[in-house]
Protein backbone atom coordinates (compact mmCIF):
# COMPACT_ATOMS: atom_id res chain seq x y z
CA UNK A 1 0.00 0.00 0.00
CA UNK A 2 1.70 3.14 -1.13
CA UNK A 3 0.44 6.66 -1.62
CA UNK A 4 -1.74 7.07 -4.73
CA UNK A 5 -1.79 10.54 -6.25
CA UNK A 6 -4.38 11.90 -8.66
CA UNK A 7 -3.20 13.16 -12.02
CA UNK A 8 -3.38 16.77 -10.78
CA UNK A 9 -1.44 15.94 -7.61
CA UNK A 10 1.18 14.13 -9.66
CA UNK A 11 1.47 17.22 -11.87
CA UNK A 12 2.05 19.34 -8.77
CA UNK A 13 4.74 16.95 -7.55
CA UNK A 14 6.48 17.03 -10.92
CA UNK A 15 6.68 20.81 -10.97
CA UNK A 16 4.02 21.42 -13.64
CA UNK A 17 2.25 23.92 -11.34
CA UNK A 18 5.45 25.79 -10.50
CA UNK A 19 8.40 25.19 -8.24
CA UNK A 20 6.73 26.46 -5.04
CA UNK A 21 3.86 24.00 -5.49
CA UNK A 22 6.38 21.25 -6.27
CA UNK A 23 8.22 21.89 -3.01
CA UNK A 24 4.97 22.12 -1.04
CA UNK A 25 3.58 18.94 -2.62
CA UNK A 26 6.76 17.04 -1.88
CA UNK A 27 6.31 17.90 1.84
CA UNK A 28 2.59 17.00 1.75
CA UNK A 29 3.29 13.69 -0.01
CA UNK A 30 6.14 12.79 2.37
CA UNK A 31 3.83 13.56 5.31
CA UNK A 32 1.14 11.33 3.81
CA UNK A 33 3.67 8.49 3.81
CA UNK A 34 4.68 9.29 7.40
CA UNK A 35 1.03 9.02 8.46
CA UNK A 36 0.34 5.95 6.34
CA UNK A 37 -2.30 7.73 4.26
CA UNK A 38 -3.10 6.11 0.90
CA UNK A 39 -4.32 9.25 -0.79
CA UNK A 40 -4.64 13.00 -0.45
CA UNK A 41 -7.83 15.01 -0.10
CA UNK A 42 -8.79 18.62 -0.86
CA UNK A 43 -9.15 21.28 1.85
CA UNK A 44 -11.22 24.44 1.59
CA UNK A 45 -9.34 26.70 3.98
CA UNK A 46 -6.07 26.99 5.85
CA UNK A 47 -4.81 28.78 8.95
CA UNK A 48 -1.07 29.30 9.12
CA UNK A 49 0.85 28.95 12.37
CA UNK A 50 4.26 29.04 10.70
CA UNK A 51 4.01 32.86 10.55
CA UNK A 52 4.09 33.22 14.35
CA UNK A 53 7.53 32.09 15.39
CA UNK A 54 10.19 34.19 13.73
CA UNK A 55 13.44 32.32 13.26
CA UNK A 56 16.04 32.74 10.52
CA UNK A 57 15.21 29.28 9.17
CA UNK A 58 11.45 30.00 9.10
CA UNK A 59 12.22 33.21 7.18
CA UNK A 60 14.39 31.27 4.73
CA UNK A 61 11.60 28.76 4.15
CA UNK A 62 8.83 31.28 3.42
CA UNK A 63 11.10 33.52 1.32
CA UNK A 64 12.03 30.49 -0.75
CA UNK A 65 8.31 29.87 -1.40
CA UNK A 66 7.87 33.52 -2.43
CA UNK A 67 10.94 33.46 -4.66
CA UNK A 68 9.57 30.34 -6.36
CA UNK A 69 6.34 32.19 -7.16
CA UNK A 70 4.09 30.55 -4.56
CA UNK A 71 0.43 31.58 -4.08
CA UNK A 72 -2.08 29.96 -1.74
CA UNK A 73 -4.73 27.83 -3.45
CA UNK A 74 -7.44 28.29 -0.77
CA UNK A 75 -8.51 31.17 1.53
CA UNK A 76 -5.76 31.26 4.14
CA UNK A 77 -5.81 33.15 7.44
CA UNK A 78 -2.70 33.99 9.45
CA UNK A 79 -1.96 33.23 13.09
CA UNK A 80 -0.52 35.77 15.53
CA UNK A 81 2.46 37.62 14.11
CA UNK A 82 5.87 37.97 15.72
CA UNK A 83 5.41 41.76 15.93
CA UNK A 84 2.80 44.36 16.89
CA UNK A 85 3.27 46.29 13.66
CA UNK A 86 1.23 49.23 15.00
CA UNK A 87 2.75 49.77 18.43
CA UNK A 88 6.17 48.11 18.45
CA UNK A 89 8.09 51.35 18.88
CA UNK A 90 6.03 52.47 21.88
CA UNK A 91 6.30 48.96 23.38
CA UNK A 92 10.09 49.13 23.32
CA UNK A 93 10.72 46.47 20.68
CA UNK A 94 14.15 46.76 19.01
CA UNK A 95 14.44 48.12 15.45
CA UNK A 96 16.46 45.20 14.10
CA UNK A 97 13.93 42.68 15.35
CA UNK A 98 11.04 44.78 14.02
CA UNK A 99 12.66 44.94 10.57
CA UNK A 100 13.23 41.18 10.40
CA UNK A 101 9.76 40.37 11.70
CA UNK A 102 8.15 42.77 9.19
CA UNK A 103 10.02 41.10 6.35
CA UNK A 104 8.76 37.71 7.59
CA UNK A 105 5.16 38.97 7.75
CA UNK A 106 5.41 40.55 4.28
CA UNK A 107 6.47 37.20 2.83
CA UNK A 108 3.23 35.58 4.00
CA UNK A 109 1.21 38.41 2.49
CA UNK A 110 3.14 37.94 -0.77
CA UNK A 111 1.87 34.33 -0.81
CA UNK A 112 -1.68 35.69 -0.79
CA UNK A 113 -2.60 35.04 2.85
CA UNK A 114 -5.19 37.16 4.68
CA UNK A 115 -3.64 39.43 7.36
CA UNK A 116 -5.84 38.32 10.27
CA UNK A 117 -2.81 37.87 12.57
CA UNK A 118 -4.67 36.08 15.33
CA UNK A 119 -4.35 32.85 17.30
CA UNK A 120 -8.14 32.92 17.86
CA UNK A 121 -9.21 32.84 14.19
CA UNK A 122 -12.45 31.13 15.18
CA UNK A 123 -13.53 34.39 16.82
CA UNK A 124 -12.66 36.47 13.79
CA UNK A 125 -12.85 36.41 10.01
CA UNK A 126 -13.58 33.22 8.08
CA UNK A 127 -14.41 30.76 10.84
CA UNK A 128 -15.03 27.43 9.09
CA UNK A 129 -18.48 25.86 8.99
CA UNK A 130 -19.55 22.54 10.50
CA UNK A 131 -18.03 19.59 8.69
CA UNK A 132 -15.70 21.69 6.54
CA UNK A 133 -12.33 20.13 5.71
CA UNK A 134 -9.56 22.60 6.59
CA UNK A 135 -5.84 22.62 7.39
CA UNK A 136 -5.18 24.57 10.54
CA UNK A 137 -2.06 25.17 12.55
CA UNK A 138 -1.85 26.56 16.13
CA UNK A 139 -2.77 23.97 18.72
CA UNK A 140 -5.49 26.00 20.45
CA UNK A 141 -7.14 26.88 17.14
CA UNK A 142 -7.04 23.25 16.01
CA UNK A 143 -8.77 21.96 19.13
CA UNK A 144 -11.40 24.70 18.90
CA UNK A 145 -12.07 24.12 15.19
CA UNK A 146 -12.55 20.38 15.66
CA UNK A 147 -14.38 20.44 18.97
CA UNK A 148 -16.51 23.57 19.08
CA UNK A 149 -17.07 24.33 15.36
CA UNK A 150 -17.09 20.75 14.12
CA UNK A 151 -14.72 21.63 11.26
CA UNK A 152 -12.14 18.97 10.46
CA UNK A 153 -8.41 19.38 10.78
CA UNK A 154 -5.41 17.60 12.15
CA UNK A 155 -2.89 19.34 14.36
CA UNK A 156 -0.84 20.67 11.44
CA UNK A 157 2.69 21.66 12.27
CA UNK A 158 4.50 24.75 11.09
CA UNK A 159 5.28 24.58 7.33
CA UNK A 160 2.81 21.73 6.69
CA UNK A 161 0.10 24.38 7.08
CA UNK A 162 1.50 26.60 4.33
CA UNK A 163 2.32 23.57 2.14
CA UNK A 164 -1.34 22.49 2.45
CA UNK A 165 -2.46 26.03 1.58
CA UNK A 166 -0.25 26.14 -1.54
CA UNK A 167 -1.43 22.75 -2.82
CA UNK A 168 -4.97 22.71 -1.39
CA UNK A 169 -4.28 19.11 -0.29
CA UNK A 170 -3.65 17.16 2.90
CA UNK A 171 -3.22 13.43 3.59
CA UNK A 172 -6.59 11.66 3.97
CA UNK A 173 -5.92 10.74 7.57
CA UNK A 174 -6.65 11.41 11.22
CA UNK A 175 -9.39 13.80 12.27
CA UNK A 176 -10.48 14.45 8.67
CA UNK A 177 -12.18 11.03 8.86
CA UNK A 178 -15.37 10.17 10.79
CA UNK A 179 -13.95 7.15 12.52
CA UNK A 180 -11.10 9.04 14.20
CA UNK A 181 -13.35 11.78 15.59
CA UNK A 182 -15.24 9.46 17.91
CA UNK A 183 -14.28 9.56 21.58
CA UNK A 184 -12.05 6.83 22.96
CA UNK A 185 -11.89 8.06 26.57
CA UNK A 186 -14.69 9.24 28.86
CA UNK A 187 -13.94 12.04 31.31
CA UNK A 188 -16.42 12.64 34.13
CA UNK A 189 -16.27 16.08 35.69
CA UNK A 190 -17.54 15.80 39.25
CA UNK A 191 -17.99 17.87 42.38
CA UNK A 192 -18.50 21.56 43.02
CA UNK A 193 -15.63 22.68 40.85
CA UNK A 194 -17.35 24.80 38.25
CA UNK A 195 -17.53 27.95 40.44
CA UNK A 196 -13.74 28.43 40.42
CA UNK A 197 -12.86 31.49 38.27
CA UNK A 198 -10.00 29.54 36.67
CA UNK A 199 -12.00 26.32 36.33
CA UNK A 200 -11.84 25.93 32.55
CA UNK A 201 -8.07 26.40 32.12
CA UNK A 202 -7.48 24.15 35.16
CA UNK A 203 -9.77 21.48 33.71
CA UNK A 204 -7.96 21.77 30.37
CA UNK A 205 -4.57 21.37 32.05
CA UNK A 206 -5.76 18.31 34.00
CA UNK A 207 -7.36 16.88 30.84
CA UNK A 208 -4.25 17.24 28.66
CA UNK A 209 -2.05 15.54 31.26
CA UNK A 210 -4.41 12.55 31.40
CA UNK A 211 -5.54 11.95 27.81
CA UNK A 212 -2.44 12.85 25.76
CA UNK A 213 -3.57 12.80 22.12
CA UNK A 214 -6.77 10.74 22.59
CA UNK A 215 -10.22 12.18 21.83
CA UNK A 216 -12.04 12.53 25.17
CA UNK A 217 -15.79 12.83 25.75
CA UNK A 218 -16.30 15.15 28.73
CA UNK A 219 -19.44 14.52 30.74
CA UNK A 220 -20.72 16.95 33.36
CA UNK A 221 -19.88 20.38 31.94
CA UNK A 222 -22.69 22.88 32.45
CA UNK A 223 -24.66 23.99 29.41
CA UNK A 224 -23.71 27.55 30.34
CA UNK A 225 -20.11 27.00 29.18
CA UNK A 226 -19.34 29.93 26.85
CA UNK A 227 -17.23 29.87 23.73
CA UNK A 228 -14.54 31.69 25.73
CA UNK A 229 -14.69 28.95 28.40
CA UNK A 230 -14.24 26.26 25.75
CA UNK A 231 -11.41 28.25 24.19
CA UNK A 232 -9.62 28.39 27.57
CA UNK A 233 -10.20 24.67 28.14
CA UNK A 234 -8.88 23.65 24.72
CA UNK A 235 -5.85 25.95 24.82
CA UNK A 236 -4.75 24.49 28.18
CA UNK A 237 -5.42 20.89 27.10
CA UNK A 238 -3.37 21.40 23.93
CA UNK A 239 -0.46 22.68 26.03
CA UNK A 240 -0.23 20.06 28.77
CA UNK A 241 -1.19 17.34 26.25
CA UNK A 242 -1.58 16.91 22.51
CA UNK A 243 -5.38 17.15 22.54
CA UNK A 244 -6.62 18.03 19.04
CA UNK A 245 -10.31 17.39 19.70
CA UNK A 246 -12.67 16.90 22.63
CA UNK A 247 -16.37 16.34 22.93
CA UNK A 248 -18.31 18.14 25.66
CA UNK A 249 -21.50 16.12 25.90
CA UNK A 250 -24.57 18.28 25.40
CA UNK A 251 -22.46 21.26 24.29
CA UNK A 252 -20.25 20.54 21.27
CA UNK A 253 -21.88 19.71 17.94
CA UNK A 254 -20.73 16.11 17.50
CA UNK A 255 -21.76 15.18 21.06
CA UNK A 256 -25.50 15.62 21.57
CA UNK A 257 -25.19 12.53 23.82
CA UNK A 258 -22.38 10.37 25.18
CA UNK A 259 -23.45 7.62 22.77
CA UNK A 260 -23.14 9.99 19.83
CA UNK A 261 -19.70 11.16 21.00
CA UNK A 262 -18.49 7.56 21.29
CA UNK A 263 -20.09 6.60 17.97
CA UNK A 264 -20.03 2.90 18.84
CA UNK A 265 -16.55 2.94 20.43
CA UNK A 266 -16.10 1.19 23.74
CA UNK A 267 -14.09 3.69 25.78
CA UNK A 268 -10.59 2.45 26.67
CA UNK A 269 -10.95 4.08 30.09
CA UNK A 270 -13.09 6.41 32.16
CA UNK A 271 -11.37 9.16 34.12
CA UNK A 272 -12.81 11.35 36.85
CA UNK A 273 -11.70 14.95 37.21
CA UNK A 274 -13.01 16.33 40.49
CA UNK A 275 -11.90 18.84 43.13
CA UNK A 276 -8.74 16.87 43.92
CA UNK A 277 -7.56 16.82 40.31
CA UNK A 278 -8.43 20.49 39.84
CA UNK A 279 -6.42 21.31 42.99
CA UNK A 280 -3.47 19.37 41.62
CA UNK A 281 -3.71 21.33 38.34
CA UNK A 282 -3.82 24.56 40.35
CA UNK A 283 -0.66 23.60 42.27
CA UNK A 284 1.02 22.59 39.01
CA UNK A 285 0.35 25.90 37.25
CA UNK A 286 0.73 28.31 40.20
CA UNK A 287 4.39 28.74 40.97
CA UNK A 288 3.57 32.02 42.74
CA UNK A 289 1.66 31.91 46.02
CA UNK A 290 -1.08 34.20 47.27
CA UNK A 291 0.33 37.50 48.55
CA UNK A 292 3.57 37.27 46.56
CA UNK A 293 4.53 40.45 44.68
CA UNK A 294 3.66 40.69 41.00
CA UNK A 295 5.64 42.32 38.17
CA UNK A 296 3.10 42.12 35.35
CA UNK A 297 -0.26 40.76 34.21
CA UNK A 298 -0.67 39.08 30.82
CA UNK A 299 -4.12 38.39 29.36
CA UNK A 300 -5.02 37.25 25.86
CA UNK A 301 -3.43 33.84 25.33
CA UNK A 302 -5.28 33.01 23.07
CA UNK A 303 -6.20 36.54 21.93
CA UNK A 304 -8.84 38.23 24.08
CA UNK A 305 -12.31 38.28 22.56
CA UNK A 306 -14.66 41.26 22.75
CA UNK A 307 -16.68 39.45 25.43
CA UNK A 308 -13.54 38.91 27.52
CA UNK A 309 -12.75 42.63 27.13
CA UNK A 310 -16.23 43.36 28.44
CA UNK A 311 -15.63 41.11 31.45
CA UNK A 312 -12.30 42.84 32.03
CA UNK A 313 -13.97 46.26 31.97
CA UNK A 314 -16.68 45.02 34.36
CA UNK A 315 -14.03 43.67 36.75
CA UNK A 316 -12.28 47.05 36.68
CA UNK A 317 -15.53 48.94 37.27
CA UNK A 318 -16.35 46.68 40.23
CA UNK A 319 -13.52 48.46 42.05
CA UNK A 320 -13.68 52.08 43.19
CA UNK A 321 -13.49 54.14 40.02
CA UNK A 322 -10.99 56.82 40.94
CA UNK A 323 -8.44 54.62 42.63
CA UNK A 324 -8.74 51.61 40.35
CA UNK A 325 -5.41 51.63 38.56
CA UNK A 326 -2.97 48.84 37.94
CA UNK A 327 0.30 49.01 39.87
CA UNK A 328 2.09 46.72 37.44
CA UNK A 329 2.30 46.61 33.64
CA UNK A 330 -0.99 45.09 32.47
CA UNK A 331 -0.73 43.65 28.94
CA UNK A 332 -3.69 42.43 26.91
CA UNK A 333 -2.96 40.60 23.65
CA UNK A 334 -5.70 40.69 21.04
CA UNK A 335 -6.52 40.85 17.36
CA UNK A 336 -7.13 44.03 15.41
CA UNK A 337 -10.66 42.78 14.78
CA UNK A 338 -11.59 42.39 18.45
CA UNK A 339 -9.83 45.63 19.25
CA UNK A 340 -11.82 47.49 16.62
CA UNK A 341 -14.99 46.43 18.43
CA UNK A 342 -13.53 47.55 21.76
CA UNK A 343 -12.51 50.90 20.31
CA UNK A 344 -16.02 51.44 18.94
CA UNK A 345 -17.78 50.34 22.11
CA UNK A 346 -16.80 52.79 24.84
CA UNK A 347 -14.93 50.12 26.80
CA UNK A 348 -11.62 51.60 25.72
CA UNK A 349 -11.85 54.49 28.21
CA UNK A 350 -12.28 52.14 31.16
CA UNK A 351 -9.36 50.01 30.06
CA UNK A 352 -7.11 52.97 29.38
CA UNK A 353 -8.02 54.59 32.71
CA UNK A 354 -6.96 51.43 34.49
CA UNK A 355 -3.63 51.37 32.67
CA UNK A 356 -4.24 48.44 30.32
CA UNK A 357 -1.71 48.24 27.49
CA UNK A 358 -3.30 46.61 24.45
CA UNK A 359 -0.90 44.70 22.22
CA UNK A 360 -2.16 43.89 18.71
CA UNK A 361 -1.59 40.93 16.38
CA UNK A 362 1.18 39.25 18.30
CA UNK A 363 1.98 36.78 21.08
CA UNK A 364 3.61 37.35 24.50
CA UNK A 365 6.17 34.66 23.71
CA UNK A 366 7.17 35.98 20.29
CA UNK A 367 7.22 39.77 20.60
CA UNK A 368 9.03 40.61 23.83
CA UNK A 369 6.91 43.40 25.27
CA UNK A 370 7.00 42.00 28.81
CA UNK A 371 9.99 43.94 30.16
CA UNK A 372 13.27 42.23 30.98
CA UNK A 373 13.60 41.75 34.72
CA UNK A 374 9.97 40.72 35.14
CA UNK A 375 9.98 37.55 37.21
CA UNK A 376 6.39 37.23 38.49
CA UNK A 377 3.43 37.21 36.09
CA UNK A 378 -0.28 36.63 36.59
CA UNK A 379 -2.46 35.36 33.76
CA UNK A 380 -5.95 33.97 33.11
CA UNK A 381 -4.56 31.44 30.64
CA UNK A 382 -3.57 27.84 31.26
CA UNK A 383 -1.54 27.94 28.06
CA UNK A 384 0.35 31.06 29.11
CA UNK A 385 0.77 29.58 32.59
CA UNK A 386 2.21 26.42 31.11
CA UNK A 387 4.70 28.02 28.73
CA UNK A 388 5.67 31.25 30.53
CA UNK A 389 8.18 29.69 32.99
CA UNK A 390 10.34 28.41 30.11
CA UNK A 391 9.59 31.04 27.47
CA UNK A 392 9.70 34.16 29.66
CA UNK A 393 11.71 32.88 32.62
CA UNK A 394 9.00 33.90 35.13
CA UNK A 395 6.98 32.44 37.98
CA UNK A 396 3.25 32.36 37.33
CA UNK A 397 -0.07 32.79 39.12
CA UNK A 398 -3.21 31.64 37.31
CA UNK A 399 -6.54 33.29 38.08
CA UNK A 400 -9.79 34.51 36.64
CA UNK A 401 -9.99 37.92 34.97
CA UNK A 402 -11.39 39.41 38.20
CA UNK A 403 -8.48 38.03 40.21
CA UNK A 404 -6.00 39.40 37.69
CA UNK A 405 -7.57 42.87 38.09
CA UNK A 406 -7.61 42.67 41.90
CA UNK A 407 -4.00 41.47 41.95
CA UNK A 408 -2.91 44.25 39.57
CA UNK A 409 -4.45 46.88 41.87
CA UNK A 410 -2.75 45.40 44.94
CA UNK A 411 0.53 44.67 43.16
CA UNK A 412 0.51 41.13 44.55
CA UNK A 413 -1.29 37.85 43.93
CA UNK A 414 -4.83 38.26 45.32
CA UNK A 415 -7.68 35.77 45.28
CA UNK A 416 -11.43 36.30 45.22
CA UNK A 417 -12.31 33.25 47.30
Amino acid sequence: MGLRLSREEQAMLEGERGEAVRLAMSVVARMAEVCGAEELMPIEQAHIDACTVFTPSALEFVERLVALGGKVAVPTTLNASPLDATNWHRLGVGEDYAASASRFMDAYLALGCIPTWTCAPYQGYLAPRFGQQVAWGESNAVVYANSVLGARTNRYGDFMDICAALTGRVPRWGLHLDRNRRATVVVEVSGQVVGDPAFYPLLGHALGLRVGDAVPAIVGLPGTATTDDLKALGAAAASSGAVAMFHAVGITPEAPSLEAALGGNTPSRTITIGPEEIDAARRDLNTLGEGEPLDAVVLGCPHLSFEEFRRLAQAIEAHDHDSAHTRVPFFVFTSRQSHALVAASGLADVLEGFGVQVVLDTCPFQCRVVPAGVSAVMTNSGKCGYYAPAELGVKVALGGIGECVKSAIEGKVARER
Binding site: T55, Y156, F159
Partner: protein, 143 residues
Protein backbone atom coordinates in the same frame (compact mmCIF):
# COMPACT_ATOMS: atom_id res chain seq x y z
CA UNK B 1 25.36 -6.47 26.10
CA UNK B 2 23.96 -5.98 22.65
CA UNK B 3 20.32 -5.71 21.59
CA UNK B 4 18.50 -4.99 18.38
CA UNK B 5 15.18 -3.15 18.09
CA UNK B 6 13.09 -3.18 14.93
CA UNK B 7 11.76 0.34 14.47
CA UNK B 8 9.93 2.17 11.73
CA UNK B 9 12.08 4.68 9.87
CA UNK B 10 9.68 7.61 9.69
CA UNK B 11 12.47 9.80 8.36
CA UNK B 12 15.17 7.44 7.13
CA UNK B 13 18.85 7.92 7.88
CA UNK B 14 21.86 6.70 9.81
CA UNK B 15 23.17 7.94 13.14
CA UNK B 16 25.44 6.72 15.92
CA UNK B 17 25.77 8.08 19.45
CA UNK B 18 24.86 7.98 23.10
CA UNK B 19 21.16 8.06 23.83
CA UNK B 20 19.45 10.53 26.17
CA UNK B 21 16.25 8.84 27.35
CA UNK B 22 13.28 10.86 28.58
CA UNK B 23 10.16 9.26 30.01
CA UNK B 24 7.76 12.18 29.46
CA UNK B 25 6.44 13.54 26.15
CA UNK B 26 7.98 16.87 25.18
CA UNK B 27 6.75 19.95 23.38
CA UNK B 28 9.80 21.07 21.41
CA UNK B 29 8.45 24.62 21.42
CA UNK B 30 9.11 25.88 24.92
CA UNK B 31 10.79 22.55 25.62
CA UNK B 32 13.95 22.59 23.50
CA UNK B 33 16.13 25.68 23.22
CA UNK B 34 17.54 25.93 19.67
CA UNK B 35 20.37 28.21 20.84
CA UNK B 36 21.79 25.57 23.22
CA UNK B 37 20.10 22.28 22.31
CA UNK B 38 19.04 21.87 25.95
CA UNK B 39 15.67 20.75 27.36
CA UNK B 40 14.06 23.97 28.58
CA UNK B 41 10.71 22.77 29.97
CA UNK B 42 10.90 22.79 33.79
CA UNK B 43 7.94 20.35 33.89
CA UNK B 44 10.00 17.77 31.97
CA UNK B 45 12.00 14.91 33.49
CA UNK B 46 15.18 15.79 31.53
CA UNK B 47 15.02 19.55 32.14
CA UNK B 48 18.46 21.06 31.55
CA UNK B 49 19.87 18.08 29.60
CA UNK B 50 21.70 18.77 26.34
CA UNK B 51 20.55 16.73 23.31
CA UNK B 52 22.58 18.39 20.52
CA UNK B 53 24.40 15.76 18.50
CA UNK B 54 23.07 12.94 20.71
CA UNK B 55 20.35 10.37 20.03
CA UNK B 56 17.29 11.74 21.79
CA UNK B 57 14.66 9.22 22.87
CA UNK B 58 11.38 10.59 24.23
CA UNK B 59 7.95 8.96 24.05
CA UNK B 60 6.36 11.48 21.68
CA UNK B 61 5.77 15.15 21.04
CA UNK B 62 2.92 17.18 22.43
CA UNK B 63 1.64 20.72 22.75
CA UNK B 64 2.43 23.42 20.27
CA UNK B 65 2.38 22.78 16.53
CA UNK B 66 5.57 24.88 16.36
CA UNK B 67 7.74 21.84 17.14
CA UNK B 68 8.65 21.53 13.47
CA UNK B 69 9.96 25.11 13.36
CA UNK B 70 12.03 24.51 16.49
CA UNK B 71 13.59 21.38 15.00
CA UNK B 72 14.31 23.19 11.72
CA UNK B 73 16.07 26.00 13.58
CA UNK B 74 18.08 23.45 15.58
CA UNK B 75 19.24 21.89 12.30
CA UNK B 76 20.27 25.31 10.99
CA UNK B 77 22.22 26.06 14.17
CA UNK B 78 23.73 22.58 14.50
CA UNK B 79 22.02 21.97 17.85
CA UNK B 80 19.59 19.26 16.65
CA UNK B 81 19.78 15.72 18.02
CA UNK B 82 21.73 13.31 15.80
CA UNK B 83 18.54 11.25 15.65
CA UNK B 84 15.15 10.99 17.38
CA UNK B 85 13.56 7.83 18.76
CA UNK B 86 9.86 7.96 19.76
CA UNK B 87 7.48 5.25 20.95
CA UNK B 88 4.46 6.92 19.36
CA UNK B 89 4.45 8.78 16.05
CA UNK B 90 4.25 12.57 16.23
CA UNK B 91 3.90 13.74 12.61
CA UNK B 92 4.98 17.28 13.58
CA UNK B 93 8.43 16.05 14.61
CA UNK B 94 8.79 14.13 11.34
CA UNK B 95 7.68 17.30 9.53
CA UNK B 96 10.50 19.35 11.05
CA UNK B 97 13.02 16.78 9.86
CA UNK B 98 11.48 16.59 6.35
CA UNK B 99 11.50 20.38 5.90
CA UNK B 100 15.11 20.48 7.13
CA UNK B 101 15.90 17.98 4.38
CA UNK B 102 14.24 20.23 1.77
CA UNK B 103 15.86 23.46 3.01
CA UNK B 104 19.29 22.38 4.24
CA UNK B 105 19.73 18.97 2.63
CA UNK B 106 20.16 17.29 6.01
CA UNK B 107 17.58 15.79 8.33
CA UNK B 108 17.91 14.01 11.69
CA UNK B 109 16.54 10.47 11.25
CA UNK B 110 13.29 9.80 13.14
CA UNK B 111 12.53 6.24 14.24
CA UNK B 112 9.41 4.98 16.00
CA UNK B 113 9.76 1.82 18.10
CA UNK B 114 7.21 -0.10 20.17
CA UNK B 115 6.54 1.00 23.74
CA UNK B 116 8.16 -2.19 24.96
CA UNK B 117 11.28 -1.56 22.90
CA UNK B 118 11.35 2.04 24.04
CA UNK B 119 11.20 0.94 27.69
CA UNK B 120 14.28 -1.22 27.12
CA UNK B 121 16.43 1.83 26.22
CA UNK B 122 18.63 3.07 29.06
CA UNK B 123 20.24 6.46 29.36
CA UNK B 124 23.80 6.43 28.07
CA UNK B 125 23.37 3.36 25.83
CA UNK B 126 25.48 3.49 22.69
CA UNK B 127 22.97 3.36 19.82
CA UNK B 128 23.32 2.89 16.06
CA UNK B 129 20.36 3.72 13.83
CA UNK B 130 20.10 2.33 10.28
CA UNK B 131 18.03 3.68 7.37
CA UNK B 132 15.69 0.67 7.64
CA UNK B 133 14.72 1.71 11.18
CA UNK B 134 16.84 -0.84 13.03
CA UNK B 135 18.21 0.40 16.36
CA UNK B 136 21.29 -1.47 17.66
CA UNK B 137 22.09 -0.99 21.33
CA UNK B 138 25.44 -1.60 22.99
CA UNK B 139 25.54 -1.31 26.76
CA UNK B 140 28.13 -1.66 29.50
CA UNK B 141 31.67 -3.09 29.11
CA UNK B 142 33.11 0.08 30.50
CA UNK B 143 31.19 2.14 27.94
Amino acid sequence: MKARLEGRAVVAGSAVGRVVVARKPLSLWGGLDPATGRIADPHHDRFGEGVAGRIFAFPTGKGSSTASAVLLECVRLGTAPAAIINSSLDPIIALGAIVAGELYGKAPPVVVVSEEAFASLADGDQVAISPDGTVEITRGEGG
